[in-house]
Symmetry: D2
Subunit: 343 residues, 4 copies
C-alpha cells in the first residue's frame, strides 16, 4: 500500500501514520519531495484490513498495490487450473460448451433442447430451474421439478448439468441433481451464498456481477475457495454500461485479464452478454479466438415460445452453425499453435 | 407495449405477432407507414410476461411502456406513504436521520457513538452487525453479539435501531433486535432475501443496488410488498460510474424520480454515496433541499480507528455541524413553503 | 508517481527503472518486501510526461499521485477565485443564474424569454446560436443572426449574455456579441477550441464532458488558463451512466469535489443534467444547498413549441418558483452561516 | 415515434398531441386501454425534429423508433460498402492492418517503425502528428514536421498513411500528406470538424467517442457523408466504463452491431481498447473472428522510449506474432467459409 499525504501534512501527522503502520506489524518508508509526501508500506496487506489509514490526519488517500485475493491469484498458483466436472475437463485447452434453454419450462421442451445440444457436440446442458427475475410477476422457474427434468435429461443424453442456485436453502437440492452449481450475476456478492457453495463440494460456475470489477469478481471466487472448494470456473456475461443497443456490453478483454491475474478457467456467455441471438455467433467465435475455456449459450427448440429470454436464444439451426464454427476455429488454433495469451 | 417490426416484415409476420398478442388475451393495433410498421399492444402487460414477442419472426424490438411494478407505483397509490417505525414517522415532511458507525466494533464504540448520535437529534442508530465485504479477509462484523449491543444502545438512548441483514438465516435474529431491517446494495436483487424480509413483518430500508436502475429498484421494493409488507423505505447510496474521485456517484436526482414514480419515502446516504467525509455535509444539505425524507450517515467516535469505512465517517464535530445545518434548512423550507417536488 | 514492479522483477529491471527516473532529473526510492517491489518517484511529474515508465521491463503498473493541472489547482492558488463577467461576480458567495431558451429561435421568442428571465432576477441570458446536435438533420441554430438577437436582448434587459461557441472560426463573432463564451460538453476535449478561447480574452464557461472525469475537466480548464485566460467557470451538467430514466446523471458531488481541488467557481445545469423539467426545481435547490456558485437553466416562453430540448425547459411559472426558492435558500444559508463546504 | 401519454391524460391533451403531429404533416393513431394511452406517429421522423412533442401537456414520454441517420444505414444501402484508400480496399473480406507508433517522434523512430510494420504485412502506417492530450503539458506532437516524415515513410515503404486531424485548420495540411484522415475519439462529436472532413475529399477513419452510443457514432458518420463524402470507415477503440483494470472496455459486440445497422466497414483498435500490450494479441484475434474489417495497432521500435502510450505498444516481436496469427485466422475462416455475421 502507498499512502499519499496532503501537501501540507505536518511531521507529526507523518509520524502518526508511521506508528499506525508499525502498529500493524508492517514496515513504513517515507519519501518526501517539495510537492509530495508519500509513505510506502511493505508487507502483508491483510494486516492493514482493520486499520483505516485513509482516516488518519494528514492522509490524502491510499493506493492499494497488492491484490486482496490469494487462492484465486496466479501469483500464488502460477499454473493454470483444470477443473474436472464429472469427467469433463474445463481449462485443458479445448473449449467446452454449455448450452440449453434459459429456463426449464417443461419436460418436452428440455428433452428436445437436450437432444439438440448433445447432437452438435456440447458437453453440458444448461437450464434454469430457479430464475432470478427483475419483476416478481415474471416466470420464476419450475424449481425442484425443473431440477428433476434436468437430471432425467442427463440420463438420456450423457450431458453434464449446470444450473443456477439462488438461495442457500436450495443448495442441497441443486447439488443433488446438478454436476455444477451456477452462481448468477445478481448473486455474485451474495456472500452467504458464496460461502455455502464453497462448502457444498460441487464445482461452481461463478458469473461476473452486472457491474462487478474484475478485482471484485476474483474476490468473490476467493470467498468460495476460502471455504475449501478450489473448483471454480468464471463466466463473463457482459457488464452494464451506457450503451442500450445491446442488453449488456460483453467484455471479452476480461478473458485476457483473468488469464493474466488468475489460474482459474474462464468461459463466456454471449447470449446474456449481447441479448441478441444475431450477435451470439460472432461473439462466440471471438471468445474462442481470445482464448476462452468455453462458452455458455442459450438455445431453445422454439425461441418464439420461450418463457424467458427468447430474443437471445439461438434456434437449433443457428446453434449448429455456431458449434461447427467454434470447433473448427479451436482445432485450427491448436494445430497451428496460435496462442492468444502469453501468460 | 409497442412492437417495432423490421422494415421488410411481411404481412404474414405481422399477422403472427397479432395472433400472439391476441393469444395472451390482449388487443393489438397495427400502424403502418412507408418506413415503419408498428404493433401497439393494449392491456395488462403482465399477461405478456411469458410471451417472447421479441423472438417472433419479423420483430425488430419491443418497447415497454407500462411499469412492471404496481404496489410500489404512485399510479396505483397516488398519496405519499408515511412509514411508521416504532413510532418514528418517515415521509411526513420532516427528514429523519439514521446515524452511527459503519460497523459495530465493540460495546464501548457503539455506546459512545449512540450518545453522540442521540445528542445531536437523530432518530435512528445505524451500525452493521453483519458486514458484506468484498474480500473474505476483511472484518465481517460481530454478528449476533453486535445485534445485542445495538439493542442495548437503544435501551440507553431511546434511538430506533436499523441494521443490515445479509442472509435469510439471519432475518429472525435481526428482526428480534432491530426496529428496521436494512437490505444492502449488494443484495438488492437477492430475491430470496427480499421475499423473506417481505414476510418478516418489520419495516425495511431498501438500498439501491450498485448499478441498479430506478426501475429495478422499485421492482425490488415490489418483491417485498408483494409478500404483504408495505413498509418499505428506499435509500439512495450512490451508483457505480466511470468517475473514480468519489467512491460512487450520488444520484440525488433519484430522489425526485422516486417521488414522481412511487409513493414510498426515500432517504439518502451521502457517506457511501461519496466515500469521503468531507463531502457528506454538502451532499446532506443537498439531499434535504431536494426533498429527501431523511439521511443515513456514518459517524464514528474516532474515525481513524474505525474497522470499516473510516475515510467516509464523520467525526462527532462534523456530525453536529451537519445536523445543525439540515435541521435549520428543513425547518426553513417548511416554514417558507419551499416545495422541492410538485408531484 | 509510484512504480509497482512485477512480483518477479529482477534487480537489473529495478536498476533500469531507477536509471530512467534519474535520467529525467528525478529521485527514485526503492521499497522492497517479500511480495512487493515499489519504486517511488519524487519531484515534478511533468518531467516524466515523456518517459513511458509503464513500458519498462519489469514494471507492473504506475500510479499517479500528483495532479497534472496546476493553474486550476487549489494547491497553487488556495483562495477561491471570483470571476468578473461584465460586472457580475461569479464565486462571491451569492449564486448567479443564467437562464433562457436552449436555442435562439426567433427575435420574438428570445425577447420574450429575456423579459421573463430578467423579471425573476437572473443575471445572465443564455441561448444557443450555434447548436451541436447528434443528427445533422436537427435544427443547427440561427448562427450569426442568433448572436445579434442575443446582443439586442442584452441592450433591452441589461442581462449579460452567455452563449456556446462550437468552432474556432466562430470565436471572434461570438466574442463580439457575448459577455461569456460557453464551451459545451461535446467540445470539452476539443483542445484546439480550448486553446483559442484561452486566447480570446473573454471569460469562459466550461461544461463538463459527457463522460469526463473531474481530473480531465480540470485539465481542460488548464488548457484555457495556460493560454493566459484565468477567467474560467466550470459547469456540471450531468454525466453519462447506465440509468435511462434521466437524460444524464447530475453529479452534484462534483460541486464539492471541484471546490476541494480547485479555486475556480462551479455552477450547475439541472436542465441538461436531468432532461426533465419536473426535476429542475429539486435539483436547483440541491445545487444551491451543496454550495454551487450559480445555476444554468432552460426556460422557454412556450416549451411545447421549443425547437430544441422542449421537455427539459421550464415554463415561465415554474421558473419563477425556482427563482424564488433559490433566492430564499441562499439568503437564509448566508444569514445563518450554513456553510456547505469546509475547504 | 410512439408517444406515451400520462395515465390521466385528458381527451383535450390527446387532441393537442394529434394536432401537433398533423401540423408537421404526419399521421397520428391513438391506442387507448384502461391503463395506457398511446399515440403512434407514422412518417418521416425528421419532420418532427423541430416539434417538441415531449413538452406537450399530458405527454409522459416519447419513444423513437426509426433511426435518425440514413446515408450510413443499411436500410437505405443494403450492400456492404468497400472503401478504397489509395488502392487498398477496406471491407472486401480480408482484414487490413494499420500499425505504427502512437506518435511520430522522430524521423528515425518513424522509419524504423515503418519498416517493421511493412515487413509483417500491414497495409497502412499510423502515427500521430497532432496529438490530443488530456494535459496541456504532455507531448503534443511534431505537427507539420510529423506529417512530412509520414509522407517520406510512405515513399520508402509503399504503405498508405492514416493520421489524426484535430482541428479544421489542419485539414488541408493533413489531406496533403495522408491517404486517410482519422477523426479521434475526443472529436467524434466535434461537428465542425466532421463537416469539414466531409468536404475534403479524402477517406475518413472515424473512431468511436469515449462514451458514444452506436447510434451517436453512426450519426457522426452521417455528418461526414451528408457533406458528400461516402468513404467512411468506423473504428471501435473501447468505451468508458467503471472497470479500471483496462484503460477502456473494448466493445467487440459493436462490430456485429455496426455490421447489422450499417453498410460501412468497421475496424478495431485493441491498443487503445485495452491500454495493455499484453491484451492486444488476444483482442486482435477476437476482432478478426468477430468479423472486423481490419485492425489498428500501436507498434514501437522501442516501447520503453515511446513519448506517448508506451504501455500499450507492441514490440516488433509481439507485433509479428499478432500479424502471423491474424493472417492465418482470417485465411482459414475464408477458406472454411466460417461467417461470423449473417446480415
Amino acid at each position: 500500500m502507498v499512502i499519499i499525504m496532503n501537501v501540507d501534512a505536518t511531521a507529526a501527522e507523518i509520524k502518526g501514520v508511521i506508528e499506525a503502520v508499525n502498529g500493524a506489524g508492517l514496515e513504513a518508508k517515507v519519501m518526501e519531495g517539495s510537492q509530495q509526501k508519500i509513505v510506502g508500506v511493505i508487507g502483508d496487506k491483510t494486516r492493514l484490513a482493520s486499520v483505516p489509514i485513509d482516516a488518519l490526519p494528514g492522509v490524502e488517500k491510499t493506493v492499494s498495490i497488492s491484490k486482496s485475493y490469494k487462492l484465486a491469484s496466479r501469483e500464488f498458483h502460477p499454473q493454470s487450473s483444470v477443473i474436472d466436472v464429472a469427467g469433463v475437463k474445463i481449462g485443458d485447452g479445448t473449449p467446452v460448451v454449455m448450452a440449453g434453454p434459459c429456463a426449464v419450462e417443461s419436460k418436452e421442451q428440455l428433452f428436445e433442447a437436450a437432444e439438440i445440444v448433445k447432437a452438435a457436440g456440447a458437453q453440458f446442458l444448461r437450464g434454469g430451474a430457479y430464475k432470478p427475475r427483475t419483476s416478481p410477476y415474471s416466470f420464476q422457474g419450475l424449481e425442484e421439478q425443473g431440477l428433476k427434468y434436468l437430471a432425467e435429461a442427463r440420463e438420456r443424453t450423457g450431458l453434464r448439468v449446470v444450473t443456477e442456485v439462488t438461495t442457500v436453502e436450495a443448495i442441497d437440492g441443486v447439488a443433488e441433481y446438478a454436476d455444477m452449481l451456477q452462481v448468477g450475476a445478481r448473486n455474485m456478492q451474495n456472500f452467504g451464498l458464496l460461502k455455502e457453495v464453497g462448502r457444498c463440494g460441487k464445482p461452481v460456475l461463478l458469473k461476473r456481477g452486472l457491474a462487478a470489477t474484475i478485482d471484485e469478481w476474483l474476490n468473490a471466487a476467493e470467498y468460495i475457495m476460502n471455504e475449501g472448494n478450489p473448483n471454480v470456473v468464471l463466466c463473463e456475461r457482459g457488464i452494464r454500461t451506457y450503451e442500450t443497443y445491446t442488453r449488456n456490453t460483453l467484455d471479452l478483454s476480461a478473458v485476457a485479464a483473468v488469464k493474466h491475474l488468475s489460474h482459474l478457467p474462464i468461459i463466456v456467455d454471449p447470449s446474456h452478454g449481447t441479448g441478441k441471438w444475431r450477435m451470439v455467433k460472432p461473439m462466440a467465435f471471438a471468445a474462442v479466438a481470445a482464448g476462452a475455456d468455453g462458452l455458455m449459450m442459450e438455445v431453445h427448440p422454439n425461441p418464439a415460445k420461450a418463457l424467458s429470454d427468447g430474443p437471445q436464444s439461438l434456434t437449433p439451426e443457428n446453434y449448429q452453425e455456431v458449434m461447427a464454427g467454434i470447433q473448427k476455429l479451436s482445432q485450427f488454433m491448436k494445430q497451428e499453435n496460435i496462442v492468444p495469451m502469453d501468460i
